[in-house]
């Protein structure tokens, strides 16, 4: 019985199935919002108002021819999409979605989730490296360069709520405002929230940080040689990363999803949608910046911002206010 329960956790909720369905929905929202900002209609035909379009895209990709380049490292080339998907899904497992505590939650799972969310970027680098094409190679080096730019501010920003709650456990951090009643810590952490959202945008490689896969420069970057099923797996991974990232930010900065069954579900939808909407707005309002610009942007603005926020929280904590 215990095994079945674990399997259900992993495969159904909050595991793979739920994540896949919900993340395609988030992708639809993102595409729709982005389209409306550009004075377009966005997906329209598949399902109600095109809500099934992301699923249809993935199904279509699965039906497409799957080419493995002759020069690539076949084993790595084939295995990497699955590694990326697995790490994104596993990251999602630890999140305290709905009113539940995350599956197998433990002290320090925040670090694990951050690590798992960083995994797909490494995988992307390797995927570019092993597909041996000039565009993939340039894309791969860009993935790594960008990773060093945003990862530190991202982690520093996530550290802030952990310090506030005095715990390394996501579930505890999410519960903190509910348990202590200190709701004012949410507006207090707005700086860290901004940094986290921007870094998540960079993590997901979306405009203005879509430098590794800038289509007019390096075709599709590390994914240039990928097609068919493997590309579809990467697509699913990207969606799930978006879900996991936005849910993580919602759990840490927006007070989590407490308050019982229905209120929890409602909060999950609203809060992740809020984060995704922010991501879409950023995507719609910016041009792609250059790789040197993202490095200087991260270290000149994002990192100092998160450090300032961190200091504020530390001082308040030391002063016994929190």
């Amino acid at each position: 019985m215990e095994t079945v329960k674990v399997m259900l956790y992993i495969l159904v909720f909050p595991g793979f199935l739920f994540q896949m369905i919900y993340s395609t929905y988030l992708e639809w929202v993102d595409r729709k919002l982005y389209a409306r900002m550009q004075n377009r209609r966005g997906p329209l035909y598949t399902g109600w108002s095109g809500v099934l379009q992301p699923v249809a895209d993935i199904v279509k990709l699965f039906a497409k021819e799957d080419v493995t380049p002759a020069a690539s490292d076949k084993f790595m080339f084939n295995i990497l999409p699955l590694v990326a998907l697995a790490s994104a899904c596993t990251a999602g497992l630890y999140l305290p979605v709905w009113h539940l505590t995350g599956f197998n939650s433990f002290q320090g799972d925040l670090v694990v989730v951050v690590y798992l969310l960083a995994m797909p970027s490494f995988v992307l680098f390797l995927a570019g490296w092993f597909s041996v094409s000039p565009f993939s190679l340039i894309g791969a080096t860009r993935v790594l360069t960008q990773l060093f730019a945003y990862e530190v501010p991202f982690f520093l920003a996530l550290l802030t709520p952990a310090v506030v709650a005095g715990s390394w456990k996501i579930a505890d951090i999410a519960k903190y405002p509910w348990a202590s009643g200190n709701w004012w810590v949410i507006p207090l952490q707005v700086l860290a929230f901004i940094v986290a959202v921007l870094a998540l945008q960079a993590k997901l490689e979306r405009v203005p940080f879509d430098i590794p896969e800038a289509e007019t420069e390096v075709v599709a970057g590390p994914l240039t040689e990928y097609s068919g099923k493997k590309l579809a797996v990467f697509r699913i991974q990207k969606d799930i990363s978006m879900y996991a990232g936005s849910a993580l930010i919602a759990a840490l900065f927006l007070g989590g999803f407490g308050g019982g069954l229905y209120l929890g579900a409602l909060q999950l939808v609203l809060k992740t949608l809020l984060v995704v909407a922010l991501l879409s707005v950023i995507r719609g309002a910016c041009a792609r910046i250059r790789i040197d610009q993202i490095v200087s942007f991260s270290w000149r603005y994002l990192a100092p911002m998160s450090i300032v926020q961190f200091l504020i929280v530390l001082l308040l904590k030391g002063g016994g206010v929190i």
Partner: protein, 399 residues
């Protein structure tokens, strides 16, 4: 090849190139230290083909040099032929030509602005400008019957007149566009991430631009004050009031600003044209088929710059030689040069900043399906098989 550099091929097929052209960039890390160009992928043998056709057939062939600036090429050509024939084109015909010309400039620049925004990943601006471009395309379709390749020019005038209804619509569009253009000028010069990508990128100094004989908005953005409409006025341009927009910034930002402001000028010109257009004939009624021997050079300010047509006639109804020099050809080398020293990420926008149009640039190889001589156009399947075999034999690649 310098040490530690790798060569990346860009093209003939590449997402940023809407048309085939091959660039080879030598890069060191992310920095570019050399560029070479190979053209000719769109060579269709038009200049040679013109020698076998009479002037009217040439007109339709030249219309198809390029989809975007089709009116430019035909106008330049008919101007040369009219010069040889010493025809006096009716005023209304010239006004209509200028009207289509300015509309074409609007739609071309709007297209460019969208493409430029897309090259730096600013898809929102891309969608906006292409939406507005539809306004221009629709009215062009209404006036001429076609969205591209308007076929409105003929030797001695134009083929269609505009109606009062179209006149009203044109004025409306001009008002709407002026408002939108102000908005784009604002975005183009204020949106920080967009500015970060275009300011100081693709530098081309005034001296180099003159040496390289650059033309059009590209040259004007490097503060070279040339505009055929003013320097070598043709048609009705002496009667219109307009400013030649130049910029001193010598970079892509300057090219954006120049093009946006030029569009505003075009809107104003359209209003003037509609206001001043006289009644009367739109074309010369009887045009001789045979053109007296002679040579003529015709210049025309196409959206991308100076378009030159050279026609040598030999007294028959076919030209002896037609030479077309599209503006992209003279700007292309300059653009490749302007990329050197910047980053890989700047390649697309820097090349796109001249608004390249390779079908204009490469013109000439005629496709034949001549069964008598056993020459035919290969089918897709044959081409594919040929390619597979060729690579298997010569490169040892197995598919």
């Amino acid at each position: 090849m310098a040490e530690n550099t790798i060569k990346i091929p860009v093209g003939p097929q590449h997402p940023f190139l809407k048309e085939p052209c091959k660039f080879e960039f030598e890069i060191k890390g992310e920095e570019i230290c050399g560029a070479t160009i190979r053209m000719g992928y769109n060579h269709r043998g038009m200049e040679k083909a013109c020698e076998d056709r009479n002037y009217y057939q040439c007109l339709y062939l030249l219309e198809r040099i390029c989809g975007i600036c089709s009116h430019s090429h035909t106008t330049a050509f008919v101007q040369a032929v009219e010069n040889l024939l010493e025809l006096e084109v009716p005023k209304r015909g010239l006004y209509l030509r200028a009207l289509v010309c300015e509309l074409e400039r609007l739609h071309s620049h709007l297209l460019w602005l969208g493409v430029a925004a897309h090259e730096v990943g600013f898809d929102t601006l891309f969608m906006y400008t292409w939406r507005d471009r539809e306004l221009v395309m629709n009215i062009l379709e209404e006036i001429s019957g076609n969205r591209v390749n308007y076929a409105i020019n003929t030797v001695g005038g134009v083929r269609r007149d505009i109606t009062a209804d179209q006149r009203k619509k044109l004025l409306e569009i001009s008002t709407v566009l002026k408002e939108r253009l102000a908005y784009y000028a604002n975005i183009g010069t204020n949106e920080p991430s967009f500015i970060a990508r275009i300011q100081g990128v693709g530098k081309m100094s005034r001296e180099r631009a003159i040496e390289k004989c650059a033309v059009g908005p590209f040259a004007r953005a490097s503060n070279v004050d040339i505009d055929v409409r003013r320097d070598d006025p043709y048609g009705i341009y002496p009667e219109l009031e307009f400013k030649v927009i130049t910029s001193e910034s010598c970079d892509i930002l300057g090219r954006v600003v120049v093009r946006v402001l030029e569009m505003v000028e075009s809107c104003k010109m359209i209003e003037q044209i509609l206001q001043k257009m006289p009644e009367g004939e739109i074309a010369v009624q009887k045009v001789p088929r045979r053109v007296p021997a002679g040579t003529a050079v015709s210049r025309y300010e196409a959206p991308r710059g100076e378009d030159v047509h050279f026609v040598r006639s030999n007294g028959t109804d076919k030209p002896e030689r037609v030479k077309v020099r599209a503006p992209t050809l003279c700007n292309l080398e300059a653009a490749a040069e302007s990329v050197v020293g910047s980053y890989v990420a700047d390649i697309p926008i820097a090349i796109a900043s001249i608004d390249p149009c390779f079908s204009c640039t490469d013109r000439m190889t005629v496709l034949l399906n001549d069964n008598r001589r056993g020459v035919r156009v290969a089918t897709w399947e044959e081409l594919r098989r040929h390619g597979v075999d060729w690579y298997r034999q010569n490169k040892g690649i197995r598919f």
